[in-house]
Amino acid sequence: METTSSEKITSKDLATDQEVRWCPGCGDYSILKQVQTTIPELGIPRENIVFISGIGCSSRFPYYMETYGMHSIHGRATAIASGLKAARPELSIWIVTGDGDGLSIGGNHMIHILRRNFNLNILLFNNEIYGLTKGQYSPTSEEGKVTKSTPMGSVDHPFNPIALCMGADATFVARSMDRDPKHLQSILKRANDHKGSSFVEIYQNCNVFNDGAFEVFTEKSSKKNETLFMEHGKPLIFGDNNEKGIKLDGFMPVIVELNAGVSPNDLWVHDEHDRVKAGILSRFFDNPKHPNHLPRPFGVFYVEDRPCYEDRMADQIQQMTAKKGDGNLDALLSGRETWVIS
């Protein structure tokens, strides 16, 4: 971010005196840890950091960060953060939201903050369930999901958060997971480094109401086959022994075996700045139970350089001030046409 700190802080300095109250085993613990580990490396003075959340289990997050923080109302953290960033562009703002908070009740604000491109970070803890309200399906739960509110299975078609954000013209779109600390830390750093609204979807296990939702992507036994870790400039390779790759056949992604006939040079090379290809990658969203499904991508899908809202707002203020001079209250109060009564 813009400001650097001379005094080094450690992850311990970021813990508060409040007892962390998530269920034992909840994926939120790991995310908290990765955030507390990463922030000291960013060189931002602690007093310039603000965590803002909505409502949900995930949204308890700010209480556990010894920075400035706000625990607000359901779905509105994005809107609150927009105002704060507009007023105080120099602050490092981190929004913490859930799949219900950020995509259901707060879905509208989410797409608008992304198109406006305030320079801040959005961490969406996706557990594909409403945790805090004890287990109803969420807008990311899969069709047919049996929950307390859907005893016969959900008939809602789920959102694909990454595709949604691409559609909203987000300038930084990434996915990571609670169970891969190193990867999550690296993505948090990338999000922070990006100037613009950085959207990070984090797969988070709710071991109480939706245990194992992301198991195939996180468990050692299946992870390498089911996930695709994207790196800019590198070919898309996955599989237990890195034996598989992705090629583009026109606009169709196909899985190919790497062997004597196909080398990594023949594969799709990931380019974070390619909007069309990022769009295709965002659609790697198959149900892992289906045969011939594509692996689920993790990492940075897309990055774009686009002016930030708060900067353009400040520009206009500067322009008008240059044209009209600093606001003079007496001149404003009298306006241009007055008359005198004597």
């Binding site: 209480y63 706000m70 607000s72 109302i73 927009s82 707002m313 606001g327 109060l333």
Partner: protein
């Protein structure tokens, strides 16, 4: 021929036409000219909700009423002296508001067969010809024809030519009321600086209208309305929404805070946004959010960052903001919420006025959620009351609701504006140091029961705030039953404490005790004041008090109310202030209620006073 000159002390003109006829502009131009001349005045624009309602129909009639005089003017007036009717629908819609023997200036072109049919006039009838307007002084002129004649060589198309019609009427009225055209000439020169042909067309038609009056023999009389005897000083013309915007800029400037205005367009509040967005050189940040929820939330975010967060809306937009108002009061951050009330419920009557959101402002939130509520009484009063709202919000670290309404938001009056240096100080102190030995206590209170404001960027004061019930002083989440009751009572006591820092309730007109007190709030001010002055002149023992602070009430209000035998409370709702008054003071106040989307006529209030005191 020598023309007669008649001196009048006040005149009410209603400009009425199709919403495309430019009547709002015509009215505004005449208003500004009258203001610059030194008349006291009051205006009331009244337009259809549709931008271009079906042409020629009653639904499409747009009106602008102006009351100006050499005497004090408090309202746009009940019945007009002059009705400008650009078409048959305008005449039909407004005739009932014209005084007997009043003047009708009728554009005959707007009374052709088609317009008569659209206005719903019975087949074969034409009010201009069938004698039904007998008793009125009807001035017929074919404005369209004369406008076209004046612009024969302009090179403009018929459509553009016809657009200048309103200038003909304006020119004629300037002649009729002995007014200089200078203000409008200047206005046109600026407005059409880059379009010479349109500029010249408008100038020519304006002058043609003026000359029409001057040269035609049938017009024998001109009228003079001398400047009003108002307190000496410098004046300008001021509209309510504009005054609200300027009051916000002034409060920001005087407090040294950045003004952040988050809003979503809605009638009749949008003009505050339009006005504020012109003043970026004051560092004003305007944010047109995606909806009213985002609008108020963005303002809360800005306030957390140390800005003066403000939001405004109306009707359904205010409804959407209620959850976030509760959040702001739990956060205990400064926030000003302006409700420019309109007719409700739901979408209601978007362009009409009403006072039906008072109970919503006072009570309309989940939980025990007290918020100070203020109300502006007139267009220029919006300036002072929004300034007060900002002061209270900052000094008490609380959201504050200011109620205005469509009537005063769009109405205008002369304003003896203050000097910046005369405005009350608004003290802001951001906390820089810990307020206890060990740590920063975000909810430790001062003598006003207000909490400290420590903003991000302040080293060592990192803290978290939230909407969950919090522990006294530390602000940590607390579910303790006794703490909850303590905090509920504390937040209430804080709002009640505001009463120690607002002016006493004064008597507007009359005496501080007597038979009848007419107690009003908001935009009924002018109508009540006119009625009470008239009633007192007629010998009635009646006084007028007008509430600007509704939650909490001024401390002396009870004593004042108990000093009168009867209390009458006129409101443009089914009786909302009256509930608050009866509840708090246990007095048998009586209501006078009008819920027609229209302001009270002074006459209606006068009749009620006369009836009560007869």
């Amino acid at each position: 021929m020598e023309k007669q000159n008649e001196v009048l002390d006040n005149v009410i003109i209603k400009f009425a036409g199709d919403s495309g006829d430019g009547m709002q502009l015509t009215g505004t131009q005449f208003t500004n000219t009258a203001a610059l001349f030194g008349n006291d005045l009051s205006t009331f624009p009244d337009f259809p909700a549709e931008i271009r309602a079906p042409q020629g129909t009653l639904a499409g009639v747009s009106g602008y009423q102006l009351h100006f005089g050499s005497v004090e003017i408090f309202t746009p007036g009940d019945y007009c002296d002059v009705l400008v009717a650009m078409n048959a629908a305008a005449l039909r819609a407004n005739l009932k508001h014209l005084k007997k023997s009043g003047i009708i200036i009728a554009n005959t072109d707007g009374f052709d067969a088609k317009n008569l049919r659209l206005a719903g006039v019975a087949d074969g009838k034409n009010p201009l010809e069938d004698g039904s307007l007998e008793g009125y002084n009807v001035i017929k002129m074919d404005v369209t024809k004369m406008t076209r004649a004046a612009l024969l060589d302009s090179g403009l198309g018929t459509k553009e030519i016809d657009r200048a019609k309103n200038m003909f009427v304006l020119g004629f009225l300037y002649w009729m009321y002995n007014r200089s055209m200078d203000h409008t000439l200047k206005f046109l020169n600026e407005k059409f600086a880059s379009k010479t042909d349109v500029l010249n067309a408008n100038l020519n038609v304006l002058k043609a209208g003026y000359n029409f009056g001057d040269t035609r023999e049938e017009f024998t009389t001109r009228f003079t309305v001398s400047p009003a005897k108002m307190p000496a000083g410098v004046y300008r013309n001021m509209m309510g929404n504009q005054a609200t915007a300027l009051g916000l800029v002034a409060a920001a400037k005087k407090s040294g805070l950045q003004l952040f205005y988050g809003t979503y367009p809605i009638t009749p509040a949008s003009d505050i946004l339009h006005e504020l967005s012109k003043h970026k050189n004051f560092g004003v940040k305007t944010f047109q959010a995606e909806d009213e929820i985002a609008a108020i939330c963005s303002s809360i975010g800005a306030s957390f960052g140390g800005a003066l967060g403000v939001t405004a809306s109306s009707g359904p937009g205010i409804a959407l903001k209620t959850e976030a108002m509760g959040l702001a009061l739990m956060f205990e951050l400064p926030l000003v919420i302006v409700n420019v009330q309109r007719g409700g419920p739901s979408t209601g009557l978007p362009t009409k006025t009403e006072q039906s959101d008072l109970l919503q402002a006072v009570y309309g939130r989940n939980g025990e959620a007290p918020i100070p509520v203020l109300a502006a009484a007139s267009p220029s009063d919006c300036f002072y009351m929004v300034y007060e709202a900002c002061r209270i919000a900052i000094e008490f670290m609380t959201p504050v609701i200011l109620l205005t309404d469509g009537y005063i938001a769009n109405g205008a009056e002369p304003w003896q504006f203050p000097k910046a240096s005369d405005l009350a100080e608004i003290k802001v102190k951001f906390t820089k140091e810990k307020n206890s030995e060990t740590k920063y206590l975000p909810y430790k209170r001062d003598e006003k029961l207000s909490r400290p404001w420590a903003i991000p960027g302040t080293k060592g004061l990192e803290h978290r705030i939230g909407g969950i019930e919090k522990q006294h002083e530390t602000g940590n989440i607390s579910y303790d039953p006794n703490n909850h009751e303590f905090m509920i009572r504390m937040r209430d006591a804080k709002v009640e404490k505001v009463a120690d820092f607002i002016p006493d309730q004064k008597i507007e007109v009359g005496t501080s005790k007597g038979k009848l007190l007419v107690l009003g709030w908001g935009s009924t001010y002018g109508a009540i004041k006119s009625a009470v002055i008239k009633a007192r002149n007629d010998g009635y023992d009646v006084s007028h008090a007008h509430l600007r602070y509704i939650k909490p009430f001024p401390k002396n209000l009870g004593e004042l109310l108990y000093s009168f035998e009867h209390i009458l409370i006129p409101e443009m709702n089914c009786g909302q202030l009256i509930k608050l008054i009866r509840d708090k003071y246990l007095i048998p106040a009586e209501g006078l209620n009008k819920i027609q989307g229209m302001p009270f006529a002074a006459e209606e209030i006068y009749s009620k006073i006369a009836e009560k005191l007869k």
